[in-house]
């Protein structure tokens, strides 16, 4: 599918340079890192407060404690009950969020600049003096358990969750969702939340990111005033060593009556520090990152099997997953799986073509300013630098590093990072209809399991 240059295509004008906005970082006396990023022309300000209190900071018997603690923070402070706290923040036009991932917990808000100080005051009160009301604890715990049920009713989310369970070995925490499994969430107590908060919600390993429209001196004074006397340092996170669960296998999660099969193919990928990070991005873009990608062209444009197909790496502090994901009509489940597996394997066979390499690189390089169009996008861009301790010039050098990825680099990344003999092939669909064809592919041993 080599494309030729179209002589009708209008010539490009002269590119205008773009730079990620400069930012500054200072360390407060209590260990809190303050990052400030003025954004010219912004009419908003975003505050993201990051604490090393994600799921990597919990232990397995308490899986889900980090997520539940984060969610409970917005239900009030010692001074303000849940209702009063919601009213106090929303009256400023602020919706405070508080959530966690594997690698951190984040409390955040966006506001008009005139409410920044009041917003920071409420955010600090929420983090330092949470209410952890017993009724709210029981309510949110029950909601979390029901959310898990609801998510499993959606075939796409069921496929994502089951893929994790099946791709990682029993000793790897990443085999469950960061928000916990029903079995562990069920056992959590309010005392667990209070203990987790007291231990981990400390400024020593924390970061506060302020981006948008603000007066630099005023914001520093405001952060000092509301968070300067917060003290202590938490123990941080454990080290997770991912192990894969087995060799190449095919799992059908039986969901009778499904008119589509949700398919995931992949295995363990890379961590955030992997030296092949940039080649991996380009390789994945060529395979399944754009409309010109190999998987999209084949499965959607040529075969009409799917509305959407993509590949991606989830790079965490330790190795997350690499997957190709799609949903296809039940009747073409087997050929779609065959295509996906052979396209992934094929990426290792021959160096990537120059055109697809240049398209993938220029997409990733060119799309760069679009990612930072919003104030919230700019604040979020600081997060990986803060959480993973990446170089502060990470975004300044990002495009050069992408540009430097050669066809050989991308091919080597495919050879090293796609491992055909470790592939987990998963389909959530109607086993009665798809099992025979899938077994007939003969590409992996097939196991059928019921949907939970």
């Amino acid at each position: 599918m080599t494309r030729t240059l179209n002589p009708m295509r209008p010539a490009a004008g002269v590119p205008r340079p773009y730079r990620f906005p400069p930012f500054s970082r200072r360390l407060l006396a209590n260990g809190l890192n303050l990052w400030t990023i003025p954004v010219a022309g912004s009419a908003l300000v975003n505050v993201h407060l990051l604490v090393d209190a994600g799921a990597a900071a919990e232990d397995e018997p308490h899986g889900g404690i980090a997520a539940l603690t984060a969610q409970l923070l917005v239900t009030g402070t010692q001074r303000l009950d849940a209702s009063a706290f919601a009213e106090a923040t929303e009256r400023l036009g602020i919706e405070v969020s508080s959530e966690s991932s594997w690698d951190s917990a984040r409390a955040a808000f966006q506001s008009l600049p005139q409410y920044l100080d009041q917003g920071l005051a409420l955010l600090a009160e929420m983090l330092r003096e949470p209410r952890f009301d017993p009724g709210e604890f029981e309510r949110l715990k029950a909601e979390r358990l029901a959310d898990i049920l609801q998510a499993r009713a959606e075939p796409g989310r069921l496929a994502d969750e089951t893929f994790l369970q099946r791709v990682y070995a029993a000793d790897t925490p990443y085999r469950r969702l960061s928000a916990g499994s029903p079995e562990t969430v069920e056992t959590l107590s309010r005392a667990d939340v209070i203990g987790f908060h007291a231990l981990h919600y400390r400024p020593g390993l924390a970061h506060v990111v302020v981006a948008g429209s603000f007066d630099g001196d005023a914001v520093t004074a405001s952060v000092e005033r509301h968070l300067g006397s917060w003290d202590g340092t938490g123990p941080g996170h454990r080290t997770i060593a991912p192990h894969h669960a087995g060799l190449r296998r095919l799992v059908i999660v039986d969901r009778p009556g499904s008119v589509q099969s949700e398919i995931r193919v992949g295995h363990i990928g890379i961590d955030r520090y992997d030296p092949r990070y940039f080649p991996a991005i380009v390789m994945s873009t060529v395979l399944g990152g754009t409309s010109q990608s190999r998987l999209h062209r084949r499965l959607r444009e040529e075969l009409g099997y799917t509305y959407s197909v993509h590949t991606g790496f989830d790079a965490r502090r330790s190795a997350g997953i690499f997957t190709a994901a799609t949903a296809v009509q039940t009747g073409v489940t087997a050929p779609a799986i065959g295509e996906l597996v052979s396209l992934l394997e094929g990426a290792r066979e021959a160096p990537f073509e120059d055109l697809e390499m240049s398209e993938a690189r220029s997409f990733q390089v060119g799309v760069f300013p679009l990612r930072f169009e919003s104030t919230g996008g700019i604040a979020a861009a600081i997060e990986p630098i803060a959480i993973y301790g990446l170089a502060e010039d990470f975004w300044q050098t990002y495009r050069d590093k992408l540009e430097a990825v050669t066809s050989v680099d991308a091919h080597n990344a495919a050879i090293e990072l796609i491992r055909p003999d470790e592939l987990l092939i998963l389909a959530v669909g109607d086993a009665r209809v798809i099992r025979g064809d899938v077994e007939a592919l003969g590409i992996a041993p097939v196991e059928v399991v019921p949907a939970p």
């Binding site: 209702s83 409309s291 009409g304 390089v365």
Partner: protein
Amino acid sequence: MPRIAIDRHTLPNGLRVILSRDNRAPIVAVNLWYDVGSRHEKPGKTGFAHLFEHLMFDGSAHVAKGEHAAQVQATGGTYNGSTWLDRTNYYETLPSHELELALWLESDRLASLLPAMTQEKLDIERNVVKEERRWRIDNQPYGTWDEKLQELLFPQAHPYHHPTIGSMEDLDAASLDDVREFFAAYYAPNNAVLTIAGDFDPAPALEMIEKHFGSIAANPAIPQGPPTAIEPIIGAEVRREVPDQVPLPRIYAAYRMPIFGTDGFNALEVATDLLGSGRASRLYRALVREQQVAQDVTTFAFPVIGGAAIFTIWATARPGVSHGALETALWAQVDRLTSDGPTDDELERIHNLHAAAVESSLERISERADRLSMYACLFDEPERINTEVSRYEEVDAGRVREAMAASLRPDNRVVLTYVPAESAESADSAEGAA
């Protein structure tokens, strides 16, 4: 609140052009709204406007299949299109020095889609759209909710009765003749709005627009869509219970309401926020936090203009709570707000939330361009983008009460309740699995 710049032009062929310059970042958004949506479809042709939108990405006289996406993405740009009840839109956001690329791609398909159209392209896109339908609707828990609400809110003859995605049977029936006829009828410069927002120089941009779009002929006889006039009130409550593969019951309630762009719509939009925006909203506070009968609650007003718009509320029952108990609690809150109206504190709360939300949306030039196209296409008044906040804040407690009393009546509502099917087997046989 900074004002969005608006510079309007009209080409001799009727193409309306809106330029909105903002050169903070070196990116530009190109956005086209065509005044055709699923409400313009003929009987037996449901889903066609959306299928047609897919075909618009499959090449034209000078652009190969797949080339539109390839050219845009190779610059680091993004693109897409979407179809809804009233309209179809197409858009690209890309580095500003590639503005002319987007204008060329958009103009080439408007000028010359048909010479490049083939049966094979139609057949492949038909399959892609059927997969989209299965993915969004048929294979999702609660996935049929909006098509069922539309079907129950609007009578058979009304063009909102059928869903934008269409039925599998009608998609199967779509032919190349339909493609030709639809293109000839609706895809003309005088049935479109072109907006450019972001980093560009107005004079060269206008020259580019004239160069690429200026020679495309107008259609002097754009067909009027089917009539949309409808009674403002249904007249009797409509209730349906839907067994589905869902773990928890969920209620979808919907009412006919005044169309988008009217004072009545604005007043009820404020009511949706009083009821459902934020954790201090009436429904979240009462149903989710205090009474704990709901797992979640959402309110939304569909911004459409075909005779009536749609006011919706949905709420998922907490485990162990009957949908009947949830419904009773829901009506109590709606009735209370209707009779008492909001307090000043509540109005202040939603005004500030709304102002911040508008500011946040308009940060992105793609969203700015889309709203400018929307206001120009639906009302011929792009300037409305600058009065979104003031029109919202003009709604006082009296207008909320009055608008709620007029529309949120039991005899004007559809109540659709999803309940867990007794077992996967029974759901399976009910659907007649193939």
